[in-house]
Every structure is written in structure tokens, then in C-alpha cells.
Amino acid sequence: MQRNKYLVAATVALALTSMPLAVWAQPKVTIAIKAEKEVNVTAKGKQVKKRVAAKGVQPGEEIIYTLSYVNSGTEAAKDVVISDPIPTGTAYIPGSASDADDLTFSIDKGKSFKKPTLLTYELKGSGGKMEKKVAAPEEYTDIRWTIPQIPAGGKGSVNFKVKVK
């Protein structure tokens, strides 16, 4: 009887600890940014490029932004969208964004995102007619990656470069 009492208590305890698992299972994505720049250093008599933290930059220099994500939750995160406005005072460097995931850009401050070839706007041409122009990379205002799913415990990073005006 005494043993049964302990068994009941253990069963209840197990039930109590297992119940929250079902309720709290959810994704938990953390995000971080690293700003770096490349500098030339001499190693073993050779000039090599090395990435260092970009605390200060000069106009014309490039900043490499690395956006790192981790799903530390207990279930997969779905329809993950990483959005990053191109920082004011910089211009996106064409082709620099990692293209592993669905990559789109905006030229209207994030209202709409499209692939680069579909980013167009109209401008009055020399003949007075409105002409459609494909946006230049330095005109991009936002960049966005869409990742269908990040499994629990999954992590990754995307990156892009800008040039300081």
C-alpha cells in the first residue's frame, strides 16, 4: 500500500511535469547583427584581408552585416521573415546579399518587396513621356529574406554589404 502511494505520487508528478510541455512547446527565434569591415593585414609576408568589427568607418568603405538567427525553442518556426532596412547613409552593394533563401528587396521603404528585376519606377524621360526604370541597387531601401522553416535548435545566418556614402 505504501509502495502504491509512492507510485501514485510519482505518476501525478510525471503528469504535472509532462503537461506543460504540451502547452509551452513553441518556437523561440533570437536575432543578432554583426557589423564588420575588411582590412588588409600582412601575415607571414603576405597581404591578406581580415574582417574586423566595424566601430568606425570612412565614407566609401564597405560594411559587412551578418544577421544570425537561432531557434532555441522547442518546435519549428515557420514563415520566418528577416527584414532589414538598408541603413541611412549607406547604399546596398549589388549582389552582396546571401541568396540561399528567398531574397527580395524594396524601393519604397518596406511597403512592398520584389526580386531586383521587378523593382521598377517611372520617371519622366527626355521626350516628356513617363519611362519605366529598373531600380539601381543603391536605390534599394530594404532587404528581406524569407525562410520557410527553422527547425527547433536550427540556426543560420544571412549577410549583405553596404557602402558608406
Binding site: I33, Q58, L67, K78, P87, E122, V164, K165
Partner: protein
């Protein structure tokens, strides 16, 4: 495919309303580049949405650059250009002065090193000094011939507000305590082909955009954004005060604004003073001067002059005193000439003329002697006036062409007779006695005394030490005349 086409048209319509601005050329030092990334996602059941955000900042560094050296602005829409100030002729010991403008072209505040040098020819001494002036001509930094630091600001425009306010990235400009843009400073706004100088009227410093989630630990939450408040520099017309410069116009940024990405640089007006004392008889002194301005890197040097050449201040005129002695028979009322004839007992009058045909002469003294077989004629009441049989009293007369003073044998009588400014003294003299062979001393010029010569100036007003300043009724090449009389034994 059809959906994509519609989407493309939709974005065209949105974007057509606001054509993206073209990229600027540069960014002000101290600008904070803020990057905020957001991640949005859903749970597996697709029912709950989550967001997290993170930010990082990067600061734009100073890109050092040399100053633009030019003549001061003289009108609106001027194109800065450098030329050495025109040459002139100055009295030996006089001062040549010229104004130049130094304008910052970097993307932020820097401290520039200034120094000046001079090379003189035919001079015993020479000097070159520079003074930093404010827009109204008052002194900002006192005259020096030593090296000194000059802090100048510059920044890159990101927009304008109203008719007169320039906008810069929030938090990028230095405060007044840090030597930043301040009311009264001259700033040069770049309009592309031309530039216009304005005066700073007011400065309002803002702050950079910010985001509360940052640091080294990755974020699982979103934070709060702080909107950027741009730094503002309000400007007004740079009017010509005391001949320093002239911006020529008031700002009207609502109709004509500087392009985004162009430089607004602070301008310093520098006055260069050069002086020399010529020391070679008949040869004027010349002085070459060069002001050197280097940024804090030491790599960008600009000159008033050039790397290989200086500017020339002009000619500091060598002293060229001419002296002429003439005589006439006073008793017979003869004319002055090289010679005269006289009977015993008649009175001769001598005239010594000292003319300055060059630079100013200092310590000008004339030594003469009572001629042989004569006695000096001394008058009791004035030169040529009163009893002429006395041995102490008035014996000579000296004139600078404007004022005339009678001289007494002991030099005491002419002290009170000297005129007041601008020619504070004509001359003094003394006679050792009346007998033949005794010396007659004459001390000429401004600042002369009973025992020492003064300045025989190039101009009748010695403060006007250039021919350009010595205008009528003042007279260039001043002439002093001494007269005394003797009786033939």
C-alpha cells in the same frame, strides 16, 4: 506569372510617386549608421506570430582633407581661386597686409596647423605674422609668427529646411563647447559650379536615431526606436563689414538649395602682415612670405603661395635722403644758388634742403659748421626778428613743408613751438656759439628731440607709409628745409 506581373505593376505605381534620391558623395564624420533587423515568424500551427529585433551602430570617421586657400569671397556665387595679393611699395619698416580665406573641405571638424615663413632681400630685419579674423574684421586669434592650431568645421548636407536652414545627420556635428559651428562663423555652401558664403545665425543640435535592443546578446524581443533629430545650422547673408568679405546674398534654400551630399565648410579669414627694414643704400628690400596650413594627418598641406613658391609682399623702399646746400646774399636780397658774392659786413643766408626720395629715414641729423670768415647771426625775438647783435637767441629756422619752427642756440626755445599730430615734431637745433668753425646741429623729423634726430618719412604723414595711402594734401617724398644766416667779417 500573371500574379507576378500585377505585383510588378503595383510596385511601379507606389514607387512612381517618389523617385529614389541618388546617392550622395559622402557622409559627415560622427554620423551614426543604425541598422535594425527584425525577424517575424509563426509557430508550427501557424496560429501565433512572434517578432524579435536587434540593432547595431557604426560611426562614420573623419576623412581628413586639405584646406581650400583662396581670396576672400567678394560676391554671391563666387568660384574660389587663389592669387597672391597685389604687390605694393612700402616705406622701410612699413607693413604690407593682405587677406586670404581658408575653407575646410573635409567631412567633419579637424584641427589644422598653421605656420608662416618669410625670406627677405636687402633687409636688416623682416617679419611675417598672421591673424585670424572674424567675419566683421575683429580679431579671433591674435597675430603670431609662430605655429598655431586652427579648428575648422565642415559637414555634408543631407537636406534643407525652410529658406535658411541646412540639415546634417543628427548627432554628427560638434557642440559649441567642442568648437563646432557657432553663430557668426562663415560657412561656404557648395552649389556645384559656384559657392556662396553665409554667416551662421543659429545652431540646433539634434541626435541620431536609436534602438533600445543592442549589445552582444542576441535578442528574442522587439525594442523601442528613437527617431533621428537632424542637426540644424541656420544661416544668413554674409554682409561686407570692414572690408573683410562679401557673401553677396541671403540664403533662399526654398528656391535654390545645395545638393544632398555636398560639403558645407567653415571659412577662416587670415590677415597676413609683412614688414621689413631695408638696409642696402639705394636698393629696396623685398620679402617673400608663405603661410602653410596642414590638416591633422600631416598629409594634406596647402599654402598661401604654393609648395614651391612664396608670395611677394612688394618693395620696402630703401632710404634715399638727398641733401642740397645753397646760399644767397640776404642783404642784397639775392636768390639761392650754388654760390653767392658778398661784401664784408653783408649777411649771407644758407639753405640746407633734405629730401626723402625713398623709404623712411630714422635718426635724421644734419651737422654743419659756421663758415670761415663769418659769424652766426642770432636774433633776439625770432628768426630774422628783433635785435641781431645778441649771442643767444634764435639762429635758424627748420620747415617740413607744412610747419616751420624757429630754433634757438641752446635748443630750448623750439620745444614749445613744435606742431601737434600728425607731425608731432619738425626739428630741433643748437649752436655751439657764433664764431666761425663752431658746429651747428640740426635734428630733423617726426619724433626728433633736442639731442636726437627723428623720422624723415616717405609721406608727410608718417602713418601713411605707402604711396597708395599718402594722398593729397599729404605729400610723398617729404622735404625738410633748414635756414641760417651769417655775417661776413
Amino acid at each position: 506569372m500573371k500574379r507576378n506581373l500585377f505585383a510588378a505593376l503595383a510596385i511601379s505605381a507606389i514607387a512612381a510617386a517618389g523617385v529614389p534620391a541618388t546617392a550622395g558623395a559622402s557622409t559627415t564624420a560622427g554620423t551614426t549608421i543604425l541598422n535594425v533587423v527584425t525577424v517575424d515568424y509563426k509557430d508550427a500551427s501557424n496560429t501565433t506570430s512572434f517578432s524579435a529585433a536587434f540593432s547595431t551602430t557604426v560611426t562614420v570617421n573623419l576623412v581628413k582633407a586639405g584646406l581650400n586657400v583662396s581670396t576672400p569671397p567678394s560676391s554671391a556665387n563666387y568660384t574660389p581661386a587663389f592669387a597672391c595679393a597685389p604687390l605694393g611699395s612700402y616705406a622701410s619698416g612699413g607693413t604690407f597686409s593682405a587677406l586670404y580665406a581658408l575653407t575646410a573641405t573635409a567631412n567633419g571638424q579637424d584641427t589644422y596647423k598653421l605656420s608662416i615663413s618669410n625670406t627677405a632681400t636687402n633687409a636688416s630685419t623682416s617679419s611675417a605674422a598672421y591673424t585670424i579674423l572674424k567675419a566683421d574684421g575683429t580679431v579671433q586669434a591674435p597675430s603670431t609668427s609662430a605655429a598655431s592650431d586652427l579648428v575648422l568645421n565642415s559637414a555634408i548636407v543631407v537636406g534643407t529646411s525652410g529658406t535658411d536652414t541646412l540639415l546634417f545627420p543628427g548627432g554628427s556635428l560638434k557642440s559649441a563647447a567642442q568648437g563646432g559651428f557657432a553663430a557668426g562663423a562663415i560657412v561656404v555652401v557648395d552649389y556645384g559650379a559656384t559657392k556662396t558664403a553665409y554667416l551662421v545665425k543659429n545652431v540646433i543640435l539634434g541626435h541620431a536615431a536609436g534602438y533600445s535592443v543592442n549589445g552582444t546578446v542576441a535578442s528574442t524581443t522587439t525594442g523601442n526606436a528613437t527617431t533621428e533629430q537632424r542637426d540644424q545650422v541656420q544661416v544668413q547673408a554674409f554682409a561686407n563689414v570692414n572690408g573683410i568679405g562679401n557673401g553677396g546674398t541671403a540664403p533662399a534654400f526654398n528656391t535654390t538649395a545645395p545638393a544632398v551630399g555636398t560639403v558645407v565648410g567653415e571659412m577662416a579669414i587670415v590677415k597676413i602682415d609683412v614688414s621689413a627694414v631695408s638696409n642696402v643704400k639705394g636698393n629696396d628690400a623685398t620679402v617673400d612670405y608663405k603661410l602653410t596650413a596642414t590638416d591633422s594627418s600631416g598629409n594634406n598641406t596647402q599654402y598661401v603661395g604654393s609648395a614651391g613658391a612664396s608670395c611677394t609682399a612688394g618693395n620696402f623702399l630703401a632710404t634715399k635722403l638727398e641733401i642740397l646746400k645753397e646760399v644767397r646774399n640776404f642783404t642784397d636780397n639775392g636768390n639761392f644758388g650754388a654760390t653767392a658774392t658778398s661784401n664784408p659786413g653783408q649777411v649771407l643766408e644758407y639753405q640746407v634742403t633734405v629730401t626723402n626720395t625713398g623709404g623712411q629715414a630714422i635718426a635724421a641729423a644734419v651737422l654743419d659748421n659756421i663758415p670761415s670768415y663769418t659769424k652766426l647771426v642770432v636774433y633776439k625775438d625770432g628768426y630774422g626778428v628783433g635785435d641781431d647783435t645778441v649771442t643767444t637767441g634764435y639762429f635758424a629756422q627748420v620747415s617740413d613743408g607744412v610747419n616751420t619752427v624757429n630754433l634757438t642756440t641752446d635748443a630750448s626755445g623750439e620745444v614749445a613751438a613744435q606742431p601737434a599730430a600728425p607731425a608731432p615734431a619738425v626739428g630741433f637745433g643748437k649752436a655751439a656759439g657764433v664764431a666761425a668753425g663752431l658746429p651747428l646741429n640740426f635734428y630733423l623729423g617726426q619724433g626728433s628731440s633736442v639731442s636726437a634726430g627723428g623720422t624723415v618719412p616717405s609721406c608727410s604723414d608718417s602713418t601713411k607709409n605707402t604711396q597708395a595711402l599718402c594722398v593729397s594734401p599729404l605729400k610723398w617724398n617729404s622735404t625738410y628745409t633748414i635756414k641760417y644766416r651769417v655775417k661776413v667779417d
